[in-house]
């Protein structure tokens, strides 16, 4: 379908990503993953291999493309623990793109990232590169969330079906219609188990003006800048955690050592609680973090201080590298930082889907972190 494709953007507005950008993105996407979203490392390796093979990854601001351009959001679905053992084949996303264009009989103009936090930051880049398309500098979450209906696209009225789901075997599954976004998520989740625990899923394309209005903006430039800040601070032997806070209007809310870690499975999701004993300025204090794939609720001395959808990020105290829920271990020393989420995640409609009550905490009200002046 490439021959019928007409370019709907100015090439001068494209930013071509380099190897260094991908290295920084790996760290930045890990930070925005708030403990979940899977490790971007393998996705980065796939992206680096694509660069080596001569493909290019070009990001584009959401207002730099014509309003009626068709933009297809894509992300991985499945278990990260499976993904580190059964690695993706590499072209699942491209097969989603081809299948989608055949399904809707229209060429897609640009790729959109479903979720900037964690592993899903990388796979849309590879899809875009292999498909010869630009990728918009935005995403549907601004962080990581466990389920597909939790994108701003779904929250603000886009129906994600018809969607296409491709696995490494070559199977392509089309969900032609779901009566709700939650139904779509439920069916896709059942399907991915049959597909072996990992697949790529592309949702129904959106028009660029919708993406511009409702996507979390500048996700790639932000994530890359975060990673660069950590790398630079480490090189100059400055505090990487302060560098992260400065950039994203976040603040360090605790330094602690992990004293207890409980994990169990609920409905296919890793649920747990983390206890911390403070040190440095927090000596004598305790804190806890409730986990549901991501870090959801932060309490200090038993009092709720930060809740989802604001970002609760755990970083290695020394290196500033992000710590995922799967890496948590007794005795680890971590810095907890809180970053205010984007306003699009703070509306009543959004909080219904991604606020504390949506994760089973009906008694905890979202109290937004103040934004930095």
């Amino acid at each position: 379908m490439a021959e019928s494709r007409k370019r709907k953007y100015d090439e001068a507005a494209l930013r071509t990503l380099t190897r260094d950008d991908l290295e920084a993105l790996e760290i930045g996407a890990g930070i925005l993953g708030t403990g979940g979203g899977g490790n971007p490392y393998q996705g980065k390796l796939l992206a680096l291999e694509a660069l080596k093979a001569g493909y290019e990854m070009k990001i584009l601001a959401t207002d730099a493309i014509e309003a009626d351009a068709l933009c297809m959001s894509i992300g991985g679905i499945g278990a990260p623990v499976v993904g580190v053992e059964r690695i993706r084949e590499g072209r699942e996303g491209l097969r989603c793109l081809t299948a989608m264009e055949e399904l809707i009989r229209t060429p897609v103009d640009a790729i959109v990232c479903e979720e900037i936090g964690g592993a899903n930051s990388m796979s849309p880049l590879v899809t875009a590169a292999l498909g010869g398309l630009p990728i918009l500098d935005c995403d549907g979450m601004g962080r990581a969330f466990p389920e597909m209906q939790m994108t701003t696209f779904s929250i603000y009225g886009h129906s994600s079906t018809p969607s296409v789901m491709c696995d490494l075997h070559g199977n392509a599954v089309i969900f032609s219609h779901a009566v709700s976004e939650v139904w779509h998520e439920r069916m896709a989740r059942a399907c991915v188990v049959a597909q072996g625990g990992g697949a790529m899923l592309a949702t129904a394309p959106m028009q660029a003006h919708f993406v511009h209005q409702f996507a979390i903006p500048r996700s790639y430039t932000k994530a890359i800048a975060l990673g660069e800040a950590v790398i630079r601070a480490r090189r100059q032997q400055e505090d990487p955690i302060a560098a992260v806070c400065d950039l994203e209007g976040g603040r360090r809310i605790f330094n602690g050592k992990i004293t207890d870690l409980k994990r169990h499975l609920r409905g296919g999701f890793a649920v747990g609680d983390l206890e911390l004993a403070g040190f440095d300025g927090w000596t004598g204090e305790t804190a806890s973090v409730a986990i549901q794939n991501e870090f959801l609720i932060f309490r200090r001395n038993g009092v709720v201080e930060v809740t989802v959808p604001d970002l609760i990020v755990l970083l290695d105290v020394d290196t500033g590298y992000p710590i995922t829920t799967e890496m948590l271990r007794y005795g680890q020393r971590v810095a907890v930082i809180a970053i205010p989420c984007h306003d699009l995640l703070r509306s009543a409609a959004a909080l219904e889907v991604v606020g504390p009550s949506a994760f089973g905490y009906p008694d905890i009200a979202f109290s937004p972190l103040p934004k930095a002046a």
Partner: protein
């Protein structure tokens, strides 16, 4: 029970003899190119120093950095066929994809991807392409490759395809050793595969090294069994090392930290091991080294071994002291083991950190008269610089703000001040041979780390019990006394984002080594 601990480092070969919990004697010798000569010298000296009858020695435990150094220095590594069973999964990421170019070239960059592998729930991902394995066997013969490493997707759940591949390779290229990833690493394909490939490339070095140890023991008239320490501070039988040399990676820092804990009786402390060229700093927690939480690079290759969280700086007894325009700098360049020839206090012409310690009256080695001419201001400034370097890495390794003692070990620990910040520095007796002591007290372990499917009514508790039983069986097979086994690690990580029922379980048990009465 008499146990001998030997640490074969890049510079020194140290030996100790323990009678139960008492160190009878400890000595240092130089490491030799052939390994054997240095080990014999250390053994003879320590036996003489202890005054015991060598026939009474029950076991010899050896710690060695030989295999780690081979990878770091890119030496003694063979070319290897790296065969992955799992296509179409992982097609975009070939074996060794994230290795530094130089080491990938050293092992020959012979990566093969073949159809095969399993899904997380045990289903077959692709049937094994046996014809392709036979074809690869032909290439192995034609290229004259020395070994093969086979890694199958989800071999932790089912090892049948790795076993079948090994059988085919044995049949079609007899004499070529085959390493199966399921024996080496844990969950996580790339890291396990990399470990299997490195292991395969070190097999012939392992053969030579273990033979050298054996020869040394025979020449010293010892008939007892000998063991080699692995990265977690536990032991492997010598024959196991022939098959799995990579399991010795990072055993050096582990031994010196465990030795420091033993010599002081402390369970919680910061351990500073000052050698000739580098200083390693790590934390002891409950008597064991604190583990690194991230993947650990060995010579630039990511592995998922459990390693102690050790921070290294380029400061040691042989470090060069340079008084330049920007003030005093110390290290990372070092005269290393030549310190006893090249340092000023030994009559050489190079100003080293050891000379500073001698001039400052902190150490009594060599001839103090030879460093009398050093300007007091220079000595003072250099001491301040050394102390600042040590303080910075101790601070980094502290687990909490609770004051804990600092244990100074290693031959270069004469550089250590009596206090580091608010922390007291302890120098146990035999501090210079703490790593050999750590080897001598090592225990035996068994480990399981794989994904369990909770199907057909199997409960999580049943899976945990199964994992523990597997780990215990492995430890007993390796020589542990069953009654002494205890679980030191038990982790259970449900597979997130999947409504299926699968959980990854990691269990490790350790116990005392059984006495050998041969």
């Amino acid at each position: 029970m008499y146990r001998v601990g030997i640490d074969v480092g890049g510079t020194n070969t140290d030996a100790v003899i323990l009678q139960d919990k008492t160190v009878l004697a400890g000595v240092k010798a130089s490491t030799t190119e052939d390994v054997t000569t240095g080990v014999i010298e250390a053994l003879e000296n320590v036996i003489a120093a202890s005054g015991i009858d060598r026939k009474a020695i029950d076991a010899v435990m050896i710690g060695t950095t030989h295999f780690t150094n081979a990878v770091i220095e890119r030496r003694h590594m063979d070319e290897v066929a790296a065969i992955r069973l799992g296509l179409p999964s992982g097609a975009g990421l070939p074996p060794m994809v994230d290795w530094p170019d130089d080491i990938r070239e050293i092992v020959g960059n012979h990566g093969y991807q073949v159809k095969g592998g399993y899904e997380f729930d045990g289903r077959i991902l692709s049937p094994l392409d046996e014809d392709e394995i036979v074809r690869i066997a032909g290439e192995i013969r034609a290229k004259g490759l020395k070994a093969a490493a086979v890694t199958c997707v989800f071999s932790g759940i089912n090892d049948a395809m790795e076993l079948r591949t090994r059988e085919l390779l044995y049949r079609h290229c007899p004499g070529v050793p085959v390493v199966m990833s399921k024996d080496i690493g844990r969950h996580g394909l790339l890291a396990r595969e990399s470990a299997a490939i490195m292991n395969a490339s070190l097999l012939s070095l392992a053969d030579r090294t273990v033979a050298a140890f054996q020869k040394a023991l025979v020449q010293a008239g010892l008939t007892c069994p000998f063991y080699i320490t692995q990265n977690d501070g536990t032991l492997m039988a010598a024959d196991v090392v022939r098959a799995f040399p990579v399991l010795t990676f990072a055993s050096g820092p582990t031994n010196s930290m465990r030795g420091a804990a033993f010599l002081t009786g402390l369970k919680d402390a910061v351990v500073v091991d000052v050698g000739g060229t580098t200083t390693d700093v790590g934390s002891l927690s409950h008597g064991f080294p604190r583990q690194a939480s991230t993947t650990v690079d060995i010579g630039g290759v990511k592995t998922n071994f459990r390693m102690p969280d050790v921070f290294s700086i380029g400061l040691g007894g042989g470090s060069l002291v340079v008084n330049g325009e920007k003030g005093i700098s110390i290290g990372p360049k070092s005269v290393g083991y030549r310190v006893r020839r090249e340092a000023l206090c030994f009559g050489g012409s190079t100003l080293t950190a050891t000379d500073i310690a001698v001039a400052a009256g902190k150490a009594d080695v060599g001839d103090k008269a030879l460093v009398d001419s050093l300007a007091p201001a220079l000595v003072e400034a250099a001491v301040a610089r050394i102390n600042a370097m040590l303080e910075a890495c101790v601070e980094r390794s502290r687990i909490s703000s609770t004051p804990v003692p600092v244990i100074a070990v290693g031959g270069g620990s004469i550089l250590m001040p009596d206090r580091i910040g608010e922390l007291e520095v302890l120098r146990p007796e035999n501090f210079a041979v703490a790593n050999a002591v750590g080897a001598a007290i090592a225990q035996i372990s068994g480990e399981t780390d794989r994904v369990f499917s909770l199907i057909d009514g199997k409960t999580r508790e049943a899976a945990l019990a199964e994992a523990e039983a597997e780990a215990r069986d492995k430890a007993i097979a390796a020589g542990a006394i069953p009654e002494t086994l205890e679980v030191i690690e038990r982790e259970d990580t449900p597979l997130a984002y999947l409504p299926g029922n699968a959980t990854r379980i990691h269990v490790k048990v350790v116990g005392e080594m059984g006495a050998y009465h041969g």
